[in-house]
Symmetry: C2
Subunit: 426 residues, 2 copies
């Protein structure tokens, strides 16, 4: 029995590893288009920033590791040209044919490219993209940069390029960042960027580098799931454009599973399919896809929509729905935003801003947005856990959260926000 996995980053290697653990006899082959596998693609902006000194620091494992330790064959620089599912066969760009019994599609996503790109315009998705940009920055020493797109990668790249001393202009077509139209958050991020002397141009769509005068341009204006080849073979895509999968990560083609940035997943709050390509989700979905491809029956219940990004030193995190999304999904949201010290002042407590959203009718917690320092990650994870458990605001108010002065405030900022929201729901 032969399992072929297309894609050798987070989802693909999780799938292959899990399948091996559950079935020692399976033949497992991973095909990766690029030359490097198992690298932390989320770390690429930090390689440009200089936090990681080499791309090797982002790489967790080599093909040799998988061959030796897990008996998983990994072929890099191996690109699929077509899927012939009736024959259970992949055709490679090289012309070679690869037979499979079971297939995990973990081909990821690709950045949207500008029309008429030029040699000073870069996307940042793969290790090769990062290497090219790094070489350009070192050799050409650009003074001014444009970043197009105020999403995760755009904001990380603004931070990275400012850290390298470039003058940076951020262009974002919408009036907000990170697909979140919450005014307090937009103001906070804009204020922070402006204090870092970033020229911020919201509501400023740009379609081509040809319009732009900066020395280097980072195009971070969205992503698309890599679905064409498997969709041509008959796998259905959803409303989001990504692959439809069941809660067992199976596509509409029997014997083909999908995981990671090319696939939809269920949103635990709205209970609707969403496409949110993120590394941690890819790891978890990959495990489930690999387990089921190996004959187990495991479920991936979905995601809460948790994400976190560092923007010029500020941690910004989300989970669940904000008010606007909640309305679109048929809820009646109410929300409260608070500022609170995350630790006592005598332990250099920093301010945490917390917005909680709950449904007016059911009092169910729907989402959280948090901005601040170190405490952001822990707080958003608590909210994400509460969402997974479908907690009401009242459940949330009683949470037994840890307190000691060196690490926490006597009343956790999450609970202060929950109390404020409870008063508004009364």
């Amino acid at each position: 029995m032969r399992l072929v996995v297309v894609g050798g980053v987070a989802a693909g290697l999780s799938a292959a590893s899990r399948a091996r653990r559950l079935d020692a006899s399976l033949e497992i082959l991973v095909l990766e288009k690029g030359s490097r596998i198992a690298y932390g693609a989320c770390g690429l902006p930090y390689y440009i920033e200089g936090q990681a000194e080499s791309l090797d620091q982002l790489t967790l494992h080599t093909p040799e590791f998988f061959r030796r330790e897990r008996r998983i064959e990994v072929r890099t620089q191996t690109e699929v040209a077509a899927v012939r599912h009736a024959q259970r066969e992949l055709q490679l760009v090289s012309g070679e044919r690869i037979r499979y019994d079971k297939l995990v599609w973990a081909a990821g996503a690709r950045p949207v490219h500008p029309s008429r790109p030029d040699d000073r315009t870069f996307v940042l998705r793969t290790d090769a993209d990062a290497a090219r940009l790094q070489a350009f920055l070192s050799e050409r020493k650009p003074k001014t940069a444009a970043v197009v797109g105020g999403g995760y990668i755009g904001l990380e790249m603004v931070t990275a390029l400012r850290a390298r001393g470039l003058s940076v202009t951020l262009y974002e077509a919408k009036g907000h960042y990170l697909h979140r139209d919450d005014d307090w958050l937009t103001s906070r991020i804009t204020g922070l960027l402006e204090r870092c002397r970033v020229a911020v141009k919201l509501r400023t769509p740009v379609s081509s580098p040809a319009q732009m005068g900066e020395d280097v341009i980072i195009w971070a204006a969205g992503m698309q799931p890599n679905t064409a080849l498997i969709a041509d073979a008959g796998a259905a895509t959803g409303r989001t454009g990504a692959l439809q999968v069941t809660d067992r990560c199976e596509t509409t083609l029997p014997g083909v599973w999908a995981a990671g940035d090319c696939a939809e997943t269920n949103h635990l709050v709205s209970n609707r399919p969403v496409w949110l390509p993120l590394g941690a989700t890819a790891n978890k979905m990959g495990r489930v896809a690999g387990a089921n491809a190996a004959g187990a029956r495991e479920r991936f219940p979905g995601i809460a929509g948790t994400s976190i990004v560092r923007v010029a030193g500020l941690g910004v995190a989300f989970t669940g729905l904000n008010s606007a999304q909640a309305r679109l999904d048929g809820f009646r949201p109410a929300s409260a935003v608070i500022d609170a010290q995350d630790r006592p002042r005598y332990f250099r407590g920093r301010k945490l801003q917390v917005e909680l959203v709950a449904d007016l009718g059911t009092r169910r917690l729907l989402g959280a947005t948090i901005a601040g320092d170190e405490g952001v990650r822990g707080a958003i994870n608590v909210a994400a856990t509460a969402l997974a458990a479908r907690m009401t605001l009242d459940d949330f108010l009683s949470l037994d959260l840890a307190y000691t002065p060196p690490y926490a405030a006597a009343t956790d900022p999450l609970l202060i926000a929950a109390r404020q929201l409870a008063r508004e729901l009364r």
Copy 2:
């Protein structure tokens, strides 16, 4: 209608404040034995350590604040001598009688004192205790210290006294710290203390300072709930010695509520009454007691047993049950302990140790123990939230936790521990 609250620290003032918010017409009187109210008693070791420069930094509010902002009368240095509940009357030590319609008992707990104490022996519970110890340390400049008791306060005081340059010996009657008999944790704390040149004497009971040669002695050998006066009036105490309360925080005396360190509460995992006197619980219980005393009907569902302490720079946190407690409470526990990086190495990731405990039969998550650095608080709070939601290990494995390199690892240490435990439960 007059509400009297006995105790002016965490639980008492939370109760009074919440009652005021829900009933503007209530007459509210708070009686506090000490001279200072609303201070963060958990911060006292950090005042001794020098993190907080004065006791005023630990004080959140004055009696004047409550009088002016909340129309709550607060009398300090006012000690109750007897409760005459049939007459709805308190008798003070001064002889004065105070009438009440409703009573919230939030009299806290007191430290166990040694037999035959002397003038170099101190407990650390109140602001007055801290002031006396501070004066002794400054004036007498002791060189050697004994700390009796390896619980929260004992370990915090070991840290504080080492930071002040004293030679410290820690005496603990049991073979472990913090009431947790998990060997890996005991070894880690002992190793850490010994690297800080603390002389650690486990399994070494001491009953009196008379046996001891050190220049100053901190007696941190346990606490007792302040229940005698209200128990004399007929309120029942439980097996733990603290006051029995319903989930509405009402004692067995109608019209008398109790909250904070003098009261039992329900453990959400074992569903049994426990006595775990901690500040964050006092705040939450106080709010519910105050609300119900003001005529609302609110519930305090209980606690997960979450706590956190910093020992010589190491964060140690618990929630739920460890294996030994789980067995006592009738579960069949299985557990896994892992070490994992909490962030990528290129962001100076630190090691987090995580133990998860689950029930073999039901796969329900029962508890977590976590040791490490900044990430400990967030991680224990996630586990506490999962316990409140009665999650199984399988629910926990799918949690959508935040990842970005500056703040987190691609696979959260909690999920690594959960995967390890899942393999052991298979």
